[in-house]
Symmetry: C2
Subunit: 157 residues, 2 copies
């Protein structure tokens, strides 16, 4: 069973002076989509309450590919690009009905952490680790996911 | 004259179920900090109204280095890492009073665009291009800025 896509409606307050979705709100939609992934993996609120374990975001990359307008509805399909016993490399494709290609791509590295006076990394429960390995994309699908994260720099010819 | 730092107060609504600043709101604070940089560069609301030109964000990377709590005040110092006649590679260091090191690092690639039926890239006004070259960090300062953007991946020893 692949991950279910997350659907987002654009709050009019998220439109900026450029008349399109402000960059940061792609990040907020992605953050909510990851919460939804956590629910699907069983890393949900009851799990977090019971274990004090949760995911912390270490790094986030966003590619803004097309403008999103107030009238758009977004579908965010999250994908498991890689995982080990404590880390999850997740990617998401943002799509809207107007266009065939994604309007944005997000990638994040997330770490499973036990909270407390001093938060510490913790291994995923075995069933979550197994589910992540089952969900992990094939090498071909990973190669097709893109644009892939990279160093940001002005490339001069 | 270097760029003035942007100060942000944490809205309590930005704290998530983990008891810290939700990842996406670092992005929102950065977005506001870039608006402030635009004002300092003269790419402000009157400029945008007069010319139909603005900045579009192409790509954004965030490193989350320390948790930020509701009681923190953040200072965001933006830096010009690179620029050409139409592109701006900006970095920002997020600091709070409790810690010596930055709590987060952001990097973005921004493009100067003329809006209209079909938005198109446009050259910066000459004075803005000159100001950007003057603000551009030295190679040593660029090397000290970090962690620098990179491909996201689980690195295995």
């Amino acid at each position: 069973m692949p991950l279910t896509a997350y659907r987002a409606t654009i709050d009019p307050a998220w439109i900026d002076y450029n008349g399109h979705l402000r960059d940061a709100y792609y990040g907020l939609i992605f953050s909510y989509a990851i919460d939804d992934v956590m629910d699907q993996l069983g890393l949900d609120a009851p799990y977090r309450d019971r274990t004090s374990c949760t995911l912390y975001t270490l790094e986030l990359h966003l590619h803004f590919l097309h403008e999103v307008k107030a009238s758009d509805e977004l579908t965010v399909q999250s994908l498991i690009l890689d995982a080990d016993h404590k880390r999850l490399h997740a990617g998401s494709e943002f799509r809207c009905g107007r266009l065939a290609e994604p309007v944005a791509i997000a990638e994040a590295m997330l770490l499973h952490v036990r909270q407390g006076a001093m938060p510490a990394t913790a291994s995923f429960p075995k069933d979550v680790e197994l589910r992540l390995q089952q969900l992990k994309l094939s090498p071909d699908a990973i190669a097709a996911f893109g644009p892939q994260s990279r160093r940001i720099e002005i490339r001069r010819r």
